[in-house]
Assembly symmetry: C2
Homo-oligomer: 600 residues x 2
């Protein structure tokens, strides 16, 4: 048996490079100096001639430099991100040169607390200085310097690896085109700090810990196992655990009435704890979790917005719906801070029941996003990229999409937009309008869309799409940050049009709104003569299953604009989607309408 699967990078080797010499130790954030520092790393794929295809992958708490492939043909397990890194995979080693290094403080080849302290000739133990995420990133940068890599196409990582990605984007903004922080956060909340603290407590409480000087003796196995068990609970979601284990017993249908592990979830945790002890070092667990607790970009920079003020990369922020360790809301906070700085950011909250672990398990969806985003980034850089970046399955469009596709003719909206403008399309669907505007008017576009698959479509079109619910508002967008904000065929479907329109009028210099006219003569006649809720070409749904939860006419909207204090710059009533506007009795004859508004 071999672990080399199809599309594996195959046999790989961990190399070690000294990046800090003993006589020139590195000044750490804690104020202490550390040297020498060795770094273990692996690479996959080839650096191209232009040297513009290098990707740095950052690992999480228990990872290592060994991200893909196997060390020996008979290895039982491949690298920790084997499903993501390889020929034709999410991070495609046929196209990219991928580098992954073990973090400072780790236990897989890079200098850490169980390395030998040159001063004592013994392992450091708790004499090892406290390290931070920023220290880890500085050491990675030193490694790249040594390897002669002065530019990165992207930095990618999940969880604590994602913290490193964020730190990279802030510390070395010029050095990278793209940043892909996955399932991460700019700071741990009280609950996550608490879990880490209890885990460390369990290690420190283990009688074998001996102040970290357990090397060559019995290791603090029970303490480390307990820490790992706690961690594992936080990596899975409640729903995922319920599906995977429920109340299933390990081997019998009867309770054993003793304190042995008998529920499947107990034996799972026992196993996770035990195997972790065999491959990981208790001291490194202490140091890396502490680095994670200390990570706090807002604290370092005054605010989260200031933290990203100088970031240059395109961002793809990814969270997972059931992740309760580093929650979608924490990823949204990253997105909000980037948006507030006017940065180029896409965001997807991938629907998953795997919890935090999803970043290692949702390979199809995450891989498609990463692959599309990397391809799009290269194309934006003017590089010709061949082939298809993501698997496109023909989908049956949802009813909301069908309604959406009854959007007013794009040509007409295009005619209202000035060239070279900046445009925010709220409820942008698959991004087709933005893509056309970019093509024909050279606009710089951003989109907001709720559905995951449509967000992927947009990202694939080199667009920057954020997966947000419009109803949550646009609070992070600066005043007048776009020349145009577009709300196409959506106002009648949202709960609180007043709030959304008010926000759009703040964010956009001009706001383009279109909707079906509820007072079209067919609707009037249907209600007047037949006494029924109108069903027309533009309002095709029955009263009980319509996504349109508001009925409004041109007159209603005129009054509403007055109520909002908005000036109507243009009002284009339409029959069908003919670009020729209705002139006579528009509120009677128009099937739909496009408004251009402004509020000074």
């Amino acid at each position: 048996m071999t672990a080399i699967g199809e599309n594996s990078v195959g046999l790989v080797e961990t190399k070690v490079l000294r990046v800090v010499e003993a006589d020139a130790p590195l000044l750490l954030e804690c104020g202490k100096r550390l040297g020498p520092i060795d770094v273990a790393y692996e690479t996959y794929g080839q650096l191209n001639e232009a040297r513009d295809n290098a990707i740095l992958v950052c690992h999480a708490l228990s990872g290592s430099a060994h991200a893909a492939g196997v060390h020996r043909p008979d290895d039982a397990k491949p690298g920790w991100w084997e499903d993501m890194i390889g020929p034709g995979k999410g991070i495609d080693t046929d196209k990219y040169f991928v580098l992954c290094s073990n973090v400072l403080g780790g236990c897989s080849g890079t200098t850490g607390p169980s390395s030998v302290d040159p001063e004592t000739g013994q392992p450091y133990g708790l004499r090892f200085p406290i390290i931070t995420i920023a220290d880890m990133v500085r050491v990675q940068k030193l490694l790249l310097d040594r390897l002669g890599i002065d530019h990165l196409l992207a930095v990618i990582g999940g969880s604590i690896g994602g913290m490193q990605v964020l730190q990279w984007s802030i510390a070395y903004p010029e050095m990278m085109d793209a940043a892909i922080p996955v399932a991460t956060t700019t700071h741990l909340g009280a609950q996550s700090i608490a879990f880490d603290a209890v885990g460390r407590n369990a290690i420190l409480a283990d009688a074998s810990f001996a102040n970290g000087q357990y090397h060559g003796k019995s290791v603090p196995a029970r303490g480390l196992a307990i820490a790992r068990m706690i961690g594992h609970i936080t990596y899975l979601s409640e729903e995922g655990m319920r599906q995977k284990f429920g109340r299933q017993l390990r081997s019998t249908e009867k309770y054993s009435y003793d304190f042995n592990s008998e529920f499947s979830v107990e034996t799972y945790l026992d196993y996770q704890g035990q195997t972790f002890v065999d491959r990981f070092d208790a001291n490194s667990y202490l140091y890396i979790t502490k680095a994670s607790d200390y990570f706090d970009l807002a604290r370092d920079h005054g605010s989260l917005q200031q933290a990203f003020a100088n970031a240059k990369a395109r961002f793809l922020v990814v969270s997972f719906s059931s992740d309760w360790l580093f929650t979608p809301a924490q990823s949204e906070a990253i997105v909000d801070a980037l948006v507030a700085n006017g940065r180029d950011v896409s965001f997807c909250n991938i629907d998953s029941s795997y919890g935090h672990d999803a970043f290692l398990l949702e390979n199809d969806t995450l891989g498609a996003f990463i692959n599309c985003f990397l391809t799009a980034t290269r194309r934006r850089n003017g590089v010709e990229v061949e082939g298809v970046c993501c698997p496109r399955h023909p989908r049956v469009p949802s009813r909301a999409e069908q309604a959406h596709r009854a959007r007013v003719d794009y040509q007409l909206v295009e005619s209202l937009i000035e060239p070279d403008a900046t445009v925010l399309d709220v409820g942008c669907g698959d991004g087709e309008l933005l893509a056309r505007l970019r093509q024909d008017k050279r606009i710089e576009g951003r989109g907001i869309e709720l559905e995951q698959d449509l967000v992927l479509n947009g990202v694939c079109k080199r667009l920057s799409i954020i997966q947000y619910d419009i109803e949550r508002g646009l609070g992070s967008y600066a005043d007048r940050s776009f020349d145009y904000a577009i709300l196409s065929q959506t106002v009648q479907t949202i709960r609180d049009p007043e709030r959304v329109l008010t926000e759009l009028l703040r964010v956009g210099r001009q706001v383009v709104v279109s909707f079906p006219n509820f007072a079209h003569w067919r609707s009037r006649v249907q209600l007047m003569c037949r006494g029924k809720a109108p069903v027309t070409r533009q309002l095709p749904f029955g009263w009980h299953d319509t996504p349109n939860i508001h009925c409004l006419s041109l007159k209603d909207f005129d009054e509403f604009c007055g109520h909002l204090g908005a000036t109507i710059e243009r009002r284009v009533p339409l029959v069908k989607t003919r670009p020729s506007p209705v002139r006579l009795w528009p509120n009677l004859l128009a099937e739909q309408v496009i408004y251009v508004l402004r509020k000074d």
Copy 2:
């Protein structure tokens, strides 16, 4: 300083009674026998002459018999539910005789694993048999027998105490009028079992544990503290921890760069762990958490519905919105099982950020619910109860309520309901209609309502109200379980009328539906002549801020009934709320309408 606050029961004493003699040991669920068994208990208030005012309070994991008052005038802390039990409080000791006993396996006076094993003369330690929630309840029953209490007005408890309440309602259904399980569950899910298992692991891993024979030596303090810390994280909500601690540092603004506890949340957990060690026994922690893991009513009885098949009590089930240990969904499962059995159940999911701990902290709201429910239960028993049961603050009615109060005249609905019928009012508001129907038609009513305050109003009116969102459906209600299901002035506000109506037609032999007529001539004229979304007496909201997300007429609903396969038994078009039905052109002249439907 004294801990005797206002309205305290004051000085109290823990008594101990032997309920099982050594020579007649109790056969436990695990198959082993245990004896002797002593039980520690306290009582507050007076048993009345009718002996019908006794309430049993069941404590949670770390509680004891000492639920209220103080043992000495200078006690620093009163009993664990001091805020709930006392004169004029939620459990009013002026009215009720309250009894609380330490659970079997505990460490506060009742026989447990640290009691002396008569066979060895040493503490039991791990020789103590595994106990279950059912065993605990049997011992409580034996105590009541000894005390000559043969009937309980109510059994009340939170968390593991709530499990005891559920077990009581099943094991001794005839003995109690009311059951109030708070923040509890019928079984632990995989995640909760996992947390318990890791906590026990920490205790068992402590070098001082010595197979439970640590008495007189050093106790397994670090292991027990770690278990308690893990527990405490699960008792708070993420939101609550964020509000209470955030990333606040204990004493300085700078990181200390060492492994001492420096975040406030760390020192909080240290403190909780440390003080717990001083007052609780590690062996008891093992046994009680194991009892909680084993608790599984569906397993014991074949299904959750069967578990409650013989329950007789009125239930008030209470959960807390941010409780992620025993979640609102788990309480809803209890409610669903009771509903499926046609039991008398009220349910409230109290809005709180305190997490699981809310059952000890949300005293005002929980106290009002308990007080009202107890009073209502006594009144249903025909007992005259004086005074006000809950504080009624005059509230400004919400917009949804205002719309609700435009309900069709109750007299009219009343005229459609046969006497002595069973009625389910979906979206029942404050329960006024049900209360009137009970008064005038002697109906047996049940209500569903989403807003917490309105649920309390209903409970206070001796009604059984479940706090559910109608949109989740009525899946737990049996077919034809009511003579009438009422949906009054609500169909136009729900997302999926088809699903809700289908369910109502399944659950009710007849369904009474009322709604405003969108095709009333005023609406028609407004749309026809003015070209605006109608605003009328019955449809008083503007297009953009209306709770009415569907527009329907009598004709629309007639067709819809055909679509649903429902027979229209009666259709009562109304002008204003006049009981005289419109005869001519009802779809034109009726402002609103009442339908009576049936589906055979």
